[in-house]
Amino acid sequence: MDAPLDRLLARFEERVRVLPALAGQTAVEVAPADLVEVVAFLRDEAGFDVLLDLVGVDRLGHPEAPTPRFEVLYHLKSLAGGARVRVHVPVPDDTLELPSCWRLWHAANWLEREVWDLFGIRFAGHPNLCRILCHHRFEGHALRRDYPIGRRQRLDAPEAFLLTDDPEWA
């Protein structure tokens, strides 16, 4: 057992569940309500200073039919120790909303926009939750498993390029 994980478990006890992970990686699961507290602890007291990535996962069609359907993963890295940890957060099916972490890491700003864009998961408290990769008139969320891979949408609205009538700002 590595030290940061021990400290996390000592601090949060049963609110953090250790998941089985391959290749010596560390993965824990926390409830959405505990998310910000846990990652803030990991950043400020366990030295995980970099939010590497934020991954949305859609489990629709999985043989075990897990609920909730969506999960968001936070990859954290510690520069000084070289350790990495993965925080899995199930997304409530009824609200599809998680708290935003952008005040802890500027990186979360665009990464949360990406998860919103591709999965339709909202982040409460995000300053500007709008699409980042898809066109602003795109309908649906492309990485959901029920979005057909072959569906095309023709989106070439010229007004998107006008400075005065711009629906989005980063």
């Binding site: 939010l51 590497l52 990859h75 500007n128 990769l133």
Partner: protein, 416 residues
């Protein structure tokens, strides 16, 4: 004998301890502009205007749109728009087997496609618990470093092109760099048959073995590239115009860089000594002593110096490894006969490698079928572009072009 860097003398900078890291005090805790500044609240008397840079503009290094709000020529707010090159690579990879996936990631970071391939195949290998044989590992390391030199050559050329006619007539440095990049592409073509989208790696090893005489060609090319590198330094390092365009421009606070997830030379130029090749060795990097260049000024010039030093270091690593490639097979698995040949066990795994632009990661989820449930690519360039709202404020339009170039983003990778 004239000192090659009379103006760049190493002076130990004052350091400050922040969460276990020693960071240069002069650029740490810099004031940060508000990226969500309401333009209406900016001084009403100012002669403010909005300027659209991109998406089709040669200095944006791809298809990036920057909306700049200017007071005179000084930018007070910058809004980057990405996504113009979004091709749904992750969606495609969720519908492809391990063998079919590799050519797709080639197109992400099209300036260093091999690093994208390695990040993907290493994730599959970690999931399958397959270790490529030593020959494949050393060959991969050589390929990564050749790719790093080629990538930095393209970066240096376009970076100098951004600065316009000041550097020996506009496109001189640009074209000289393409000359050396061609030599490296020749080596990669001799090995893989391709000059850009190689499809050279596969799960468990490499696809191509070394052709006869390749090692000698590599060594000869390294000599030539190293000689020419000295010429570039002569054209840039002490060039008054180059220095006045880059020194003190686009200073990146290491704390902001960490918070934004920036990596690679952008991070190391701000005094953060971190490189996965040394800190978490993969392929054959454990066999060589990788020296990591670090600068502390955090400006465009420091990023330039780090990349030049990285090219020299890459040449050294290639020379060390190419003379002692171990004998043996280049693949741990039998050559695949059909696309479903690689059976994935259920599980989730993340693998990160040091691409020329920072940590390039792949996160893989499998439920036991030949096609993965989810493939997430962690592009380092996305995090570099997300720094622009902070770095551009207070800079002139001409500096913004240099700042953008110095971050070395590849938009194909940002948008995936």
């Amino acid at each position: 004998m004239v000192d090659a860097h009379p103006s760049h003398e190493p002076v130990a900078p004052a350091l400050v301890e922040v969460s276990g890291l020693s960071l240069p005090a002069a650029i740490t805790h810099l004031p940060r502009p508000d990226p969500y500044l309401n333009v209406e609240d900016y001084e009403p008397e100012a002669d403010a205007m909005a300027l659209n840079m991109g998406p089709q503009h040669p200095s944006t290094h791809g298809v990036l749109r920057l909306k700049l709000f200017l007071d005179g020529e000084i930018c007070f707010k910058a809004v980057p728009y990405v996504g113009y090159l979004h091709r749904g690579v992750e969606k495609l990879l969720e519908n492809r087997t391990a063998i079919q996936s590799v050519p797709y990631v080639d197109k992400n970071d099209y300036v260093s496609p091999l690093t994208g391939e390695l990040a993907l195949v290493m994730a599959y290998e970690a999931l399958l618990d397959v270790e490529p044989p030593p020959r494949a590992q050393v060959l991969r390391t050589i390929l990564m470093e050749l790719q790093r030199i080629a990538s930095h050559h393209l970066w240096l050329g376009t970076f100098c092109l951004d600065m316009g006619g000041a550097l020996g007539g506009g496109s001189s440095v640009f074209l000289y760099n393409f000359r050396e990049r061609e030599l490296i592409l020749d080596l990669l073509e001799a090995l893989t048959g391709q000059r850009m989208h190689y499809n050279a790696l596969m799960v468990g090893g490499n696809r191509h073995d070394v052709p006869p005489g390749w090692e000698e060609k590599v060594l000869a090319t390294m000599d030539r590239v190293e000689d020419r590198l000295a010429e570039y330094e002569a054209m840039t390092v002490d060039n008054h115009i180059f220095r006045s365009r880059t020194v003190g421009v686009g200073v990146l606070d290491p704390l902001l860089a960490l918070e934004a997830g920036a990596g690679g030379a952008n991070l190391r130029a701000s005094g953060v000594d971190h490189d996965l090749r040394r800190d978490a060795p993969y392929a054959a990097y454990g066999q060589v002593d990788v020296r990591i260049p670090v600068e502390t000024a955090g400006d465009c010039y420091a990023r330039f110096l780090v990349r030049i030093a990285e090219m020299r270091e890459a040449i050294r690593i290639v020379r060390l490894l190419v003379s002692g490639i171990p004998e043996g097979p280049i693949g741990a698995l039998k050559p695949p006969r059909h696309v479903n040949a690689v059976k994935l066990p259920p599980g989730e795994v993340y693998v990160g490698i040091e691409s020329p632009r920072g940590e390039l990661g792949t996160y893989l989820i499998s439920d036991g079928s030949p096609i993965p449930v989810r493939v997430k690519i962690r592009p380092p360039s996305l995090h570099a572009v997300s720094l622009l709202p902070y770095l551009c404020v207070g800079a002139t339009v001409s500096d913004i072009v240099v700042i953008l170039g110095s971050l070395d983003p590849i938009l194909g990778e940002v948008d995936r």
